[in-house]
Point group: C2
Chain length 298, copies 2
DNA sequence: CGACCATGATACCGATCCGGTATGAATTGA
DNA sequence: TCAATTCATACCGGATCGGTATCATGGTCG
């Protein structure tokens, strides 16, 4: 059967048109080259070159085969290089799920650094609601997720990448606007706007935990999935909201932000499946400065 | 060294994810398959699949390699098919030089038939002046030429493909327009328009030969390379012309065509170099109905 | 014109590689 | 715990590879 070595031999011969010199270039002697090229012609059933006493010339079929063989050998070698790149996580695909909030904080810088370091990896970014993310990662729909810490989940490893305090978003004419810092106790009875529990449980938990020491549960008036929508509704004076500090970057006309006393912190983590073998994931975790030791553990 | 067989083995294995069934498909037994895939992994330095007790799964690198290997094997096989096509003249290039007159007679039908029969051959058509054509063919700049018969040329084979009479092109108010047929003797002293000797020697020879029996040489008033230009000049009543009958297809307002008594015939031939090994040429000559016997001779 | 040289084909040899058979190790399922 | 499945390993005979030696052919040069 015709194989890739015979193609390499033929290419060398076609480029030198001289058995001896071609053999030299291939680091073999002339007889094996003659034999292999002869066998190649026999197996193809086609004469590839005319042997004259002083020179050899390609037939038309030989010219065709030279072009094709060059292309085949080149993609063959490329395939062998690619598989090594893929094994080192430098080539392939990496799918990342993230909650919208991450798009305003850790995701841009992280994605930028990763894509600069691994330009050949096709990065697939997809926004999902925080509560579904850990399930998606465990199920293998994403290689990694960026979300509020979901707490321990079986088959999921996490590592913190961002920690920020919550602050208070209020209408500029709200009574609290006069203060620089608002305490938790003041929130009792205040109508809050927040994300639904099933969308961002961690965030809701943090709000509840903040109020609990003062003996009351927060009053949720409105629920909406996106933090941006929350800010808009605060702008309409439909309530106030506890939001991550980074939301203050959204300069909105009617909304002001105030610090919370003993502000609760909310953490974003990278989440991944430790069994996930995608080398691109290991590289991504390295870029995210996840310690090697935690990569393999639950 | 990695070779194409190992790629084929890996593809079969990756598609079945089962050593036994993959070996069956490859018509070998399981142990050689295990050994070859193991050797492939070792040579690449990359683990391509995870062996579990009941099933095997591709690693990320393995998936990458599967895609690449499929593409390599496919172009490898294509190269082997292509060289056989090229050898039969069904794939490759065919360059044809032709004089402009042929574009009005034999070339369109011939080129059409050939290209329909051999759609994969890239046909390069180029118009040149008749006198340079035989030289171009002998020098290998064209595989074939279509021109007025240049007579015997060393290293050139020819075969007639078209024969037509010359006729007389005259202005519609010319005195000859009243006759249906004009004799050679009447041409004595008539100002003729013709192509220069060095452009179309055969055509000029035919005109001279037509007059010689009547004891005079034709009077050439104007010389111009293209037959179309000749017709235009006849339309301007600058002279009359002996042109191939097929030129009468050019319906021009002021020009009429008249038959010549004992009209001289002019022959178009296909010309090629018998040593030319391009299989596409053989196929072209076959389409042109050149007998096999004349293909190889001088 | 003949000796010489360059070139590629062929014959033969030892080493390597291939695929086949036999068998072992590990895991799963009854 | 035993049987079955699955893949890896050991070993064998045959095929193939590349190397050396040599031959046939056809230019080249004195």
């Amino acid at each position: 059967m015709v194989d890739i070595r015979q193609m390499r031999y033929f290419i060398a011969l076609a480029e030198t048109l001289h058995f001896g010199r071609a053999a030299d270039r291939l680091n073999i002697t002339q007889p094996p080259l003659s034999r292999q090229v002869g066998a190649l012609e026999r197996e193809l059933g086609v004469k590839l070159l005319e042997r004259h006493s002083r020179r050899a010339v390609l037939t038309a079929a030989g010219q065709q085969f030279l072009e094709d063989a060059r292309s085949v050998v080149s993609s063959f070698d490329q395939a062998c290089r690619n598989v090594r790149l893929a094994d080192r996580g430098e080539l392939g695909e990496l799918s990342i799920g993230f909650m919208m909030h991450a798009a305003h904080t850790v995701l841009p810088g992280l994605a930028k650094r990763y894509m600069a370091a691994f330009p050949l990896v096709e990065v697939k970014l997809r926004e999902v609601i925080p509560s579904s993310l850990s399930g998606d990662v465990v199920a293998g729909r994403f290689d990694a997720g960026i979300t509020f810490s979901p707490g321990p989940v079986r088959g999921l490893a996490t590592y913190p990448v961002h920690r920020e305090n919550l602050c208070l978003a209020i209408h500029r004419e709200h009574e609290f606007a006069a203060h620089d810092v608002i305490g938790a106790a003041a929130l009792e009875g205040q109508p809050l706007i927040a994300t639904p529990v099933d969308v961002a449980p961690t965030l809701r938990q943090a709000i509840s935990d903040y109020c609990r020491p003062y003996g009351f549960e927060p009053t949720i008036r409105l629920e909406t999935q996106l933090q941006q929508t929350i800010i808009s509704l605060v702008g309409e004076n439909l309530g106030i909201a506890l939001v991550p500090q980074s939301m203050a970057k959204l300069q909105t006309r009617d909304v002001v932000f105030r610090a919370l006393e003993d502000a609760p912190a909310i953490e974003q983590v990278i989440a991944w499946r430790p069994q996930n073998l995608n080398p691109a994931l290991r590289a991504f975790l390295t870029v995210a400065e996840v310690p090697k030791a935690t990569m393999q553990l639950d």
